[in-house]
């Protein structure tokens, strides 16, 4: 207790701290309100997962059904198929889409011509602003077996046209490559900012010690980016079960449903088309719980191994 008293700031300092924290709190307020309204408020709706919900009876008057909705989808073979697809695609995303911006940022950082570097960065951001409807159309056109650029080029080498987006073995790679193209530039912004914050003297000292470009990247750039990489990796892991609806829906077709159908398209069909609000709430609640478990586990492992974590 005595030690705590010793640690307490002087009264004048406490007032200054209070004023500073008040200012910061006020600045944070809009974000907190947004969070409360759009993230915490809707949590009330999770009750629907345990009901046979009707919008007109409301949460308070809809009948309770316990875990029936959970039992239904957990015993549905189709759910496990889309669950498997979701995990596989999310894993590919983790391996390829997550690392691509890191590699891109490191490579772009090595470009010495600043004008070229800026133009390249700007161009790389552009696909982020395209909707997946547009991207889906572009990909279909590019990969068309009759008029697509890719098949035209393959044709020059005598390769027969390939109907890429109907090939089950190619659909997931197409999803991943398209996602990399669409997001690599935008996702690398944070890494660029971290790299620009690394002390230049570290590179100068390394050069004096005889370190080449690769050694500088390995021993200075990457360690400098580590905390950001861990932060984004943990967030990516937390969202593993949320493979984006837009990108799958705009690219898939009947021939690849078995490898392309994911939880988000499954819940879209049940929730939006079949109005199964309770069932889809149960599914998304399970998704969130699994995401939380993954996040906590990954954060623990990261803390144990690298001493880095979200909290």
């Amino acid at each position: 207790m005595a030690k705590a008293k010793e640690l307490m700031p002087e009264k004048g300092m406490r007032v200054r701290n209070w004023k500073t924290s008040m200012t910061l709190t006020v600045l944070m307020l809009p974000a907190m309100i947004l969070l409360a309204v759009f993230n915490y408020g809707p949590l009330f709706g999770l009750l629907m997962a345990f009901q046979d919900y009707s919008p007109f009876k409301g949460v308070f008057n809809s009948p309770w059904v316990g875990f029936d909705n959970f039992v239904w989808f957990l015993t549905d073979a189709k759910f496990w198929q889309v669950f498997r697809n979701t995990v596989i695609i999310a894993f590919y995303d983790l391996i390829f889409c997550f690392t691509a911006p890191i590699i891109f940022a490191i490579l772009a950082n090595e470009i010495r011509n600043m004008a070229f570097k800026r133009v390249m960065q700007t161009i790389s951001y552009l696909p982020h602003f395209l909707s997946w409807v547009v991207i889906g159309g572009l990909v279909r056109s590019l990969l068309s077996p009759t008029s697509g650029l890719v098949n035209n080029i393959l044709g020059v080498f005598g390769v027969e046209p390939i109907y890429f987006i109907t090939e089950a073995s190619m659909f997931r790679p197409i999803l991943v490559i398209t996602n990399i193209w669409a997001s690599v530039g935008w996702s690398s912004i944070l890494y660029f900012s971290v790299i620009s914050g690394i002390d230049v003297q570290l590179y100068e000292a390394a050069m004096i010690d005889g370190a080449g470009r690769i050694k500088q990247t390995w021993h200075i750039t990457l360690p400098g980016m580590a905390s950001m990489i861990v932060l984004l990796l943990l967030l990516q892991i937390a969202g593993m079960f949320n493979v984006g609806f837009d990108r799958v829906y705009n690219l898939y077709n009947p021939t690849v449903y078995e490898v392309g159908d994911v939880i988000s398209t499954y819940t879209y069909r049940l929730g939006i088309e079949q109005h199964e609000y309770s069932l889809t709430t149960a599914i998304t609640l399970t998704q969130s719980v699994l995401g939380t478990i993954l996040l906590v586990s990954a954060n623990f492992i990261s803390g144990e191994i690298a001493g880095l974590g979200l909290y």
Binding site: S54, T166, Y249, P254, E258, H275, E276
Partner: protein
């Protein structure tokens, strides 16, 4: 809107809202029982008969909505196809059999090598093949909407078309046409059907007779398409042997109603006034205003007859002065009410063309009008949760199997096995509905004009 539970005073429900969401909401107390309003109505009763109200009665015996009357248009559905190509490559004679149609498709392909001939409009929310993708299935006596239940008249049960011999044989023909390049090589992913239709020499589509356009379509961006003549083809003289019920191949008679409903919300503060709005919408003055517009603006009276002013009809659909948009208010009288005006405009523009278009639908209309209503029209069926949850999934699964087979990715044996597996998993959907219609009071069904057999 319904998911949010916050409804306006009057709700117009269509599509899935009409068939599923709104009736569920009605059972949960979202809408007013309009039985008494209807019994004392001034105008609604003159448009919507008591028999029509019987059709749309809820399972609790109440009427919650005013349906849309849908009479006055040609009945049935069949192939709407390029008559200009028939004239060019088939001496102006519509093909009379499935084989003749296939031969005609081949002739078009030989003469126009880059023609798509048969294309598709991919549907990702259910069964994948629509419009051009359904042509061959129609030639095998299957309905316009794919992937659904059809009534087996001999055995008095529903079955999904996917498990029928007709479907298998039709899909084999599709596979042949795909191999020959007659079926769009990208049929499994084509989402730009309308562009293909006007620019790629697509030959035919499956559609309702009432969708035959009475006026020529003009495309500023593709003038070559302006000479296309999409017209309803003649019925076949003979179907393939595998077709069991050629009598109903052009559709069965409808009950004269359409999938539109006008509800009054239970949250409406003054339902009497909301009903008055519906009364106005059911008045003859309102119908005439919607159909003909204003005298001197959209029509004039010549020798006691209303004559449309074509310039107003031709205004671009986005023009704020366009008169056609007001037709959307005909939710009780029904959209067919404007047929009279459209025919008059079409004849003013090009009488010969309009007459040919109208006449092309007559044969199919005649056949479909003389078929009985099948038990799929029996009112009151509410799908169980399991059916509701599996229906779209089943359609997606049959789309996958069908597309992969057509593209040569499955052997005939695998195709048969996949269909059998599909039936084992989704066959309960047809069984549940069969059970419902067979438990329905047969006399009541007969009184509504529904028949269980073709005898």
């Amino acid at each position: 809107m319904i998911a949010g539970g916050d409804l306006p005073d009057i709700v117009h429900a269509i599509g899935t809202s009409y068939s599923t969401t709104a009736p569920e909401a009605a059972r949960d107390g979202a809408f007013v029982n309009i039985g008494e309003y209807y019994a004392n109505s001034r105008n609604v009763k003159n448009v919507i008969t008591e028999e029509m109200m019987e059709w749309v009665k809820e399972t609790d015996g109440n009427n919650y909505f005013v349906p849309m009357k849908y009479q006055g248009l040609p009945e049935g559905s069949w192939l709407i196809a390029r008559y200009d190509l028939v004239e060019q490559y088939n001496n102006g004679e519509w093909p009379k059999t499935m084989e003749e149609w296939v031969s005609f498709f081949q002739t078009v392909k030989e003469n126009i090598p880059d023609a798509l001939v048969l294309s598709n409009r991919l549907n990702k929310s259910g069964y994948a093949l629509t419009y051009g993708g359904r042509v061959v299935y129609r030639l095998f006596g299957l309905p316009s909407d794919g992937g659904g239940l059809i009534w087996d008249w001999d055995n008095q049960k529903f079955e999904n078309e996917f498990v029928t011999e007709e479907y298998k044989e039709a899909t084999k023909v599709m596979k042949d046409l795909y191999e020959q390049g007659i079926l769009d090589p990208e049929f499994a992913t084509t989402e730009d059907w309308f562009d293909n239709k006007k620019t790629k020499n697509v030959v035919a589509e499956s559609n309702a007779a009432n969708q035959v356009l009475l006026t020529r379509t003009t495309y500023d961006d593709y003038p070559e398409a302006n000479s296309q003549e999409w017209r309803m083809a003649d019925p076949l003289t003979e179907f393939p042997d595998v077709v069991r019920y050629p009598e109903v191949a052009y559709g069965t008679l409808t009950n004269g109603l359409s999938g539109h409903a006008m509800y009054i919300s239970a949250s409406c503060e003054n339902p009497d006034r909301a009903w008055d709005v519906l009364e106005v919408m059911a008045s003859e003055d309102f119908r005439d205003l919607c159909v003909w517009g204003l005298e001197g603006y959209s029509y004039e009276v010549v020798d006691g007859e209303k004559v449309p002013i074509v310039e107003v009809f031709n205004l671009d659909a986005t023009d704020p002065n366009v008169f056609r948009w007001q037709r959307q208010f005909l939710t009780i009288w029904g959209f067919p009410s404007y047929r009279e005006y459209d025919e008059a405009v079409a004849k003013l523009q090009d009488e010969e063309f309009a007459t040919a278009q109208i006449e092309s639908t007559e044969a199919v209309d005649e056949i479909a009008s003389n078929t009985p209503m099948d038990p799929s029209k029996i009112p009151g069926y509410i799908a169980s949760d399991d059916v509701n949850r599996k229906d779209t999934e089943g359609k997606a699964a049959m789309s996958t199997i069908t597309c992969n087979y057509i593209m040569g990715r499955m052997s005939d044996a695998d195709f048969d096995q996949a269909i059998a597996d599909w039936e084992a998993e989704y066959g309960f959907i047809a069984e549940e509905k069969t059970e419902y219609v067979n438990s329905y009071d047969k006399d009541e069904a007969a009184a509504l004009g529904i028949r269980y057999t073709l005898d």
